[in-house]
């Protein structure tokens, strides 16, 4: 979702600057007006839910249920009580959820990335029988909706005795990262000129050293994009986490937020506070890494 938002926003910005360059020559006023109107609508639809999430987290429940709905709360209405309740409640180990998500996301994304790097490199550069079947076949996996695979994957997790473990969920998230990781990185590696890698070989380095010292640094955007995608996939993933995890102490944020309903009385403010806390780190990372992300994603032709 955020991914979509950011890519659509950057596309819009790209369109904007193109318009600006052209305006003095041809774009008539009505065309520009239409453009800004469209931009405004898209922007509003994209941003308003975030805004309302933030507002809801900062006001008392009573404000939400006031007779005349308001979009902008008075300054006097603002309060941090939802956050206090969220972090103060003994029945809800919210910090634990956060750490669980962070750990599972970091590890599964790292594993997915490492696997994708070597797999994608082999698709892009090495010759072996069956390469075509593997490289296409892996994309087929991407065509299944996650829910179709719940039962088979759960059976595998049961068989591997990984039910209700962090490893179980890490492995599951890892599996879902791979198709896109291979695709994105494979395309990017193909864009690295062969001659540059060959120059590395001629300069005395082994294939593996060339990958690490030349190909990977040159592919930084795709690597960042893949890692972010993988981390986010894990961070937001609800279905498998809810199936595999049983103990509250292992819950990730998406399940944790859902559980808040049972823990609190006036639930919306707390849920939104939890959502804000869940969203902020992701937004920060995105803002920081967005230049790589946009480059990496636009290269892999991913929408």
């Amino acid at each position: 979702m955020i991914l979509k938002l950011i890519t659509s926003a950057t596309e819009a910005l790209g369109g904007l600057s193109r318009r600006f360059r052209r305006q003095s020559i041809e774009a008539p006023l009505w065309e520009r007006a239409l453009f800004y109107l469209t931009l405004g609508v898209v922007g509003f639809v994209s941003v308003f839910p975030f805004y309302y999430m933030g507002v809801t987290s900062l006001v008392p429940e009573s404000w939400l249920y006031s007779r005349v709905p308001q979009a902008i709360p008075a300054l006097a209405d603002l309060t941090l009580e939802n956050y206090e309740a969220l972090f103060g409640a003994e029945s809800v180990p919210f910090v634990q959820y956060f750490l669980n998500s962070l750990f599972i996301g970091t590890v599964s994304a790292a594993l997915g990335l490492a696997f994708s790097i070597f797999g994608a490199y082999s698709f892009a550069r090495l010759e072996y029988p069956g390469r075509w079947v593997f490289s296409r076949g892996v994309l087929v996996n991407y065509m299944f909706a996650g829910i179709l695979l719940v039962i088979p994957i759960f059976q595998i997790i049961v068989w591997a005795k990984l039910v209700n473990t962090r490893l179980g969920i890490i492995v599951t998230h890892f599996i879902f990262v791979i198709p896109l990781g291979l695709y994105l990185l494979g395309n990017y590696f193909r864009s690295v000129p062969r001659e540059i890698e060959e120059a590395g070989l001629m300069d005395g380095y082994s294939r593996l050293e060339v990958i690490v010292r030349i190909t990977l640094p040159m592919s930084k955007p795709a690597i960042v994009a893949t890692y972010m995608y993988a981390f986010l996939l894990s961070w937001n993933e609800y279905l498998y986490a809810s199936v595999i995890l049983r103990d509250q102490s292992l819950y990730t944020l998406p399940i944790g937020i859902e559980q808040l309903q049972y823990a609190f009385q006036n639930v919306w403010g707390d849920v939104m506070a939890a959502s804000v806390v869940t969203t902020i780190p992701v937004l920060l990372i995105f803002l920081y890494l967005q230049k790589y992300l946009v480059e990496g994603l636009s290269f892999g032709n991913m929408d």
Partner: protein
């Protein structure tokens, strides 16, 4: 070690190039699936020599170079460098360096980083490496560029960085794959001369691939002319130009191309002029003769010494002034003849009397071999 000689202020450098090593290709063959790219090539590159592989695109010259580099496997045959058989050696272990057509600079490293990269695998100390980078940079006049990124450099500067990266490790062999083809004409001639003198100075065995015959003839100690995966001729630039083994070599070298005249029914131009009549003396099996455009003269304007055929009259078809000379296409009985001469004058349609230099006429048999 670079030392500064106090009396002259000259910097003598430690970049000397390894003593030349001999390269030997023995019946080397390369197949790409069904395509035979290189067909049983045997070739020796003498120690310290600059050998140029020349040929039209697709002739196998780059594949041959890449097999020497180890970037392509050898389907059959063997490659030796010095006394060592490197046929199965990985490229990183061959102690060879290469300049690529695209230069292949590492875009994420500065010029200094690019030059330092090959040194990463040597056991030099950090100071020695720094010293070497400075020396090579000075040698190639790129000292000012050391901290820049490759994408900030011009084509000529990139080319010099690529050369610097090649020589800095002092490998056994240099390989150059069309190193000048991305430069503009003026820079190409200038850089060609610099490359030439650099190679002389270092004395490192060098294999150089190009499709540009002028470049090949100007820089080479010996030229290998390749066609269709095979070697047509090996020789010094003078040899391959004046004594081509066959029609392919004769035609490939020289701009404009050599003129071939069919010797049909014992005469030229469809039998109309007999060889004897104009004083051409060639073996009986001759099927065609070759005359280079600069070896034909406007009648009466030929040099005073030498032996010339009797004049043949052509009709002037196209004439192009090149400043110092003219290039023209002549016609007789529907056969064309290219001529390069400073003495031409006239309009298209005018008759021109031409004499051939009898000494330089090349005779070929029915299979295109020179007699």
């Amino acid at each position: 070690m670079a030392r500064t000689d106090d009396s002259t202020g000259e910097v003598s450098t430690s970049i000397e190039g390894a003593a030349g090593e001999r390269i030997r290709l023995d019946s080397v063959t390369k197949h790409f699936d069904d395509l035979i790219a290189v067909d049983e090539i045997s070739l020796e590159v003498e120690p310290g020599e600059l050998l140029v592989l020349l040929g039209p695109s697709g002739c196998g010259k780059t594949t041959t170079l890449r097999m020497i580099a180890g970037l392509e496997t050898v389907t059959d045959g063997s490659i030796r460098i010095g006394s060592e058989d490197v046929t199965q050696t990985l490229p990183q272990n061959r102690d060879i360096s290469m300049v690529f057509q695209s230069y292949a600079l590492y875009p994420h490293k500065t010029v200094r980083g690019n030059l330092a990269f090959p040194l990463g695998k040597t056991d030099l100390t950090t100071e020695e490496k720094e010293q070497k980078i400075e020396e090579v940079a000075e040698m190639l006049e790129i000292t000012d560029l050391l901290e820049k990124d490759p994408d900030q450099l011009s084509g000529g500067q990139r080319q010099r960085v690529a050369v610097g990266r090649t020589i800095i490790r002092e490998p056994r062999v240099f390989l150059l794959d069309e190193p000048l083809s991305n430069l503009d004409a003026e820079l190409r001639v200038q850089t060609r001369a610099q490359l030439h003198s650099l190679q002389r100075r270092l004395g490192t065995t060098t294999v150089y691939v190009t499709h540009d015959q002028e470049e090949a003839l100007s820089i080479a100690d010996r030229v290998v002319i390749m066609n269709d995966g095979r070697i047509e001729q090996v020789g010094t630039p003078e040899e391959v130009y004046t004594e081509p083994d066959n029609e392919f070599v004769a035609e490939f070298l020289g701009e404009p191309s050599i003129n071939f005249l069919d010797v049909g029914e014992g005469g030229l131009f469809g039998g109309e002029v007999s060889l004897g009549e104009i004083g051409i003396d060639v073996p009986r099996e001759t099927a065609r003769i070759g005359v280079r455009p600069e070896d034909a003269f406007v009648a009466g304007k030929q040099p005073s010494d030498g032996r010339f055929t009797d004049p043949v009259t052509f009709e002037l078809d196209v004439i192009e002034p090149l400043g110092h000379t003219y290039e023209a296409t002549l016609e007789r009985n529907g056969r064309r003849f290219a001529l390069q001469s400073p003495d031409l004058e006239g309009e298209p349609g005018d008759p021109v009397e031409i004499q051939f230099d009898a000494e330089t006429i090349l005779a070929f048999d029915g299979d295109g071999r020179r007699l």
